[in-house]
C-alpha cells in the first residue's frame, strides 16, 4: 500500500501506530447502544454511577423555580454520594440555592439544610414522605418540603 521507498521511511512507524490506536479508539465507542441517544452525558463513562442523579436533576430543573432552595439526598443516605450530588445540583440547577447535606464525605448537621424548600432524592422514595411529592422518575423523586 505504501510506496516502497526504504525500510526506514519515517512515515511507516507512526502510520502503523496510529492505525492501531485508531482501532483502539473505535473499540471504546459504546456501539451496543446503536443510534439510541443516551439519557445523560455520563451513561457509559467512568462516572456512570452519577448518571441517575444527572438525569433526575436535569428533570428537576423544570419543576424547581428560580430562587428556591434545594438539597439533594441519596436513598439510602450516603455521605460520599450526597457530596457529589450537591456538586451536580450547583451546576444543573442554576439560579437555585443548592444547600449541601454532606461535604468531603461527611454528613452535615441536618440544621444546615433543614430549611431547604425542595428535596431531591436519588433512589427509592424515602419513608416517611419528607413533604409533598412533586414528581418522580425512575431515578428518584422531587419533593416540596413540609416546613
Amino acid at each position: 500500500m505504501l510506496r516502497p521507498r526504504s525500510i526506514a521511511d519515517p512515515a511507516l512507524a507512526p502510520l502503523v501506530g496510529s492505525a492501531l490506536l485508531a482501532a483502539l479508539a473505535l473499540w471504546h465507542v459504546p456501539w451496543r447502544q446503536g443510534l439510541e441517544r443516551p439519557a445523560t452525558l455520563y451513561d457509559h463513562s467512568s462516572a456512570a454511577a452519577l448518571a441517575p442523579a444527572y438525569a433526575l436533576l436535569t428533570a428537576a430543573a423544570l419543576g424547581i423555580p428560580p430562587g428556591a432552595s434545594v438539597t439533594v439526598r441519596a436513598e439510602p443516605p450516603d455521605a460520599e454520594l450526597e457530596m457529589w450530588y450537591h456538586r451536580f445540583a450547583v451546576a444543573l440547577l442554576p439560579g437555585r440555592r443548592a444547600i449541601p447535606s454532606a461535604l468531603y464525605g461527611a454528613f452535615l448537621a441536618p440544621e444546615v439544610w433543614k430549611d431547604a424548600e425542595y428535596l431531591v432524592v436519588v433512589g427509592p422514595k424515602p419513608s416517611p414522605a419528607p413533604g409533598r411529592l412533586l414528581f418522580e422518575t425512575p431515578q428518584g423523586s422531587v419533593w416540596l418540603r413540609d416546613r
Binding site: G17, H28, Y42, A51, P94
Partner: protein, 436 residues
C-alpha cells in the same frame, strides 16, 4: 438549537485571532493551520480580555469582549514590523501515506465524537467546575466572587487558570444558556482542529508524509486517552492543542524570529491560562528552545520576552484579579507548597504506572514510545520535546509529592490525563530529522 449557537460562538475565536495571523509573515502556514492557529491565539486573547474586563469591574458582553480582543490582536501586529512576507511550501498532491494518515486521523476524531455523544467520554469536572463556573460567570457577566467565595464551592478551585471557564462563559453569553452537550463536544471539535492544523505546522520541519503520519499518531493518541480518561468538556483537550502546536512551531527551522516566537508565546499563554501544568510546560519548552538555538545573550533575552511575555502578562492579570479581590494569591492544589512527602515517592511511581497501564492497557503511551525508539538516533531538536516531557513529568510528580495522606486516589483519576502530553512529545521527537 442553543447547542448549535453555543458551538457556533466559538467561530469568534479564529475571527478574533485573524487580524494577527493575517500578517504576511504567517503566510508560511497552510490555510487550515492558519485558521486553527488564529483560533488558538483568539482563545488566549478572548480569555485575557475577559480577565481584564473583570479586573476593571466591567460587565462581559459578546461585543465588548470581541472588540477588545480584536484590538489586542491588531495591536500585536506592531511587534511584527519588518518581518518579511512568507508563503506556504508548494503544495503537491498528497501521496498514499498522507491520504492514509488523514483518514486515520479522521477516524480518531469520529471515534471521539461518537464516544462523546454516546456518553462514554464526558469528564465529571465539566459539571463539577468548568461548566458550573462558566454558567455562573455568564449569568453574572463577570467572575462571580460571591459564588467562588462560598465555602461549599471550594472544590471549584477559585485559583484555577481562567481560560476554559472564560471561553465557555463567552459561548454561554452568546447562546443565552450553558449547553452541557455542546461543552462536551469541544473534545472532538478541538481534536479535529489539531488534526487540521498539525500537518501544516509540522510540514516545516519534516517531509509532508512524515508530518501527516506524525499528526495522525498524535491525534489517535489523544483520542484514545481522551475517550478512556473521560476528558470531554474539561480543560485537557484545549491544553493539548495549545501545547502540541506550540512545540511543533518551535521545532520548525524558521521558528526563531518575531513571527514564530510571538505565535508560540501566545500558545504558551493559552496553555498556562488553561491549566496549572501549562505554566511549567511553557517555561521548560522556552528554556530548551533557547538553549538549542544558541545566539547572543541579547538575542536570547529578546526571544524569551516574546515566548514568555504573553504568559507573564496573562497570568499577571489573573493573579492581579485574585489578589485585588482577596480571592487567591497562589496555586494551592492539595497541600502546602514545598511541604514534600518523600515517603510517598515509591507509591507515586507505582500508582502512575498502574493508572497509565489501566488506560487502554497503556497502549496510547507505549506506541508513541515504540515509534520513538524505532526511529533510532534523532536530531538534536528532539531534545526539545523530550526535555519538555521530562520537565512536565517531574512537575507532576512534584505536585503529587505534596499530598499529605498519600496521592494514590488523586493519581488514579488524574494521571492518565495529565501525562497525555508525554506520549505526544515522544511522537514529535520521533519526527525530528537527523542533521546531515
Amino acid at each position: 438549537m442553543e447547542g448549535a449557537t453555543w458551538l457556533a460562538a466559538l467561530v469568534f475565536l479564529p475571527a478574533v485571532g485573524s487580524p494577527l495571523l493575517a500578517h504576511r509573515s504567517f503566510g508560511r502556514f497552510p490555510f487550515w493551520s492558519r485558521v486553527v492557529l488564529s483560533g488558538a491565539a483568539g482563545a488566549a486573547l478572548v480569555s485575557f480580555s475577559m480577565t481584564l474586563l473583570a479586573l476593571a469591574d466591567r460587565a462581559w458582553g459578546v461585543a465588548v469582549v470581541v472588540a477588545l480582543a480584536t484590538v489586542l490582536a491588531s495591536g500585536m501586529r506592531v511587534l511584527l514590523r519588518g518581518e518579511p512576507a512568507t508563503s506556504p511550501p508548494e503544495s503537491a498532491s498528497p501521496d498514499v501515506a498522507e491520504r492514509l494518515a488523514g483518514a486515520i486521523a479522521c477516524i480518531a476524531v469520529i471515534a471521539a465524537l461518537l464516544a462523546t455523544l454516546g456518553g462514554a467520554a464526558t469528564s465529571v469536572d465539566l459539571v463539577f467546575f468548568w461548566g458550573a463556573k462558566a454558567q455562573q460567570f455568564a449569568a453574572a457577566r463577570g467572575i462571580d466572587l460571591a459564588f467562588l467565595r462560598n465555602p461549599a464551592h471550594q472544590y471549584m478551585h477559585p485559583y484555577y487558570p481562567p481560560l476554559v471557564s472564560n471561553v465557555f462563559a463567552f459561548a454561554t453569553t452568546a447562546a443565552g444558556r450553558f449547553v452541557w452537550t455542546a461543552a462536551a463536544l469541544t473534545f472532538p471539535l478541538t481534536l479535529a482542529a489539531l488534526a487540521a492544523a498539525l500537518p501544516g505546522v509540522l510540514g516545516g520541519m519534516t517531509s509532508a508524509r512524515a508530518a501527516a503520519a506524525t499528526s495522525a499518531l498524535v491525534v489517535t493518541t489523544l483520542a484514545c486517552i481522551g475517550i478512556q480518561a473521560d476528558i470531554a468538556g474539561n480543560a485537557d483537550m484545549p491544553l493539548y492543542l495549545f501545547e502540541t502546536l506550540a512545540l511543533a512551531l518551535l521545532l520548525r527551522p524558521d521558528a526563531a524570529g518575531a513571527t514564530g516566537d510571538l505565535l508560540a508565546g501566545l500558545l504558551f499563554a493559552a496553555a498556562a491560562t488553561a491549566k496549572v501544568e501549562g505554566l511549567p510546560f511553557a517555561v521548560s519548552a522556552t528554556a530548551l528552545a533557547l538553549w538549542l538555538r544558541g545566539g547572543t545573550p541579547a538575542e536570547r533575552a529578546k526571544a524569551s520576552a516574546r515566548l514568555l511575555g504573553p504568559t507573564a502578562v496573562a497570568l499577571a492579570a489573573w493573579f492581579g484579579f485574585g489578589l485585588s479581590r482577596k480571592l487567591f494569591s497562589a496555586y494551592s492544589e492539595y497541600g502546602r507548597f514545598f511541604d514534600i512527602h518523600l515517603e510517598h515517592a515509591g507509591g507515586i511511581a507505582a500508582a502512575i504506572v498502574t493508572s497509565v497501564a489501566a488506560t487502554g492497557r497503556g497502549l496510547a503511551y507505549v506506541i508513541p514510545l515504540l515509534c520513538l525508539v524505532g526511529a533510532g538516533r534523532r536530531g538534536r531538536m528532539a531534545a526539545l520535546p523530550l526535555g519538555t516531557a521530562a520537565a512536565l513529568a517531574g512537575f507532576l510528580v512534584f505536585t503529587y509529592l505534596h499530598s499529605t495522606g498519600g496521592p494514590a486516589q488523586w493519581i488514579g483519576w488524574s494521571a492518565p490525563r495529565v501525562f497525555a502530553p508525554v506520549p505526544v512529545m515522544f511522537a514529535l521527537a520521533a519526527a525530528c530529522r537527523r542533521e546531515a
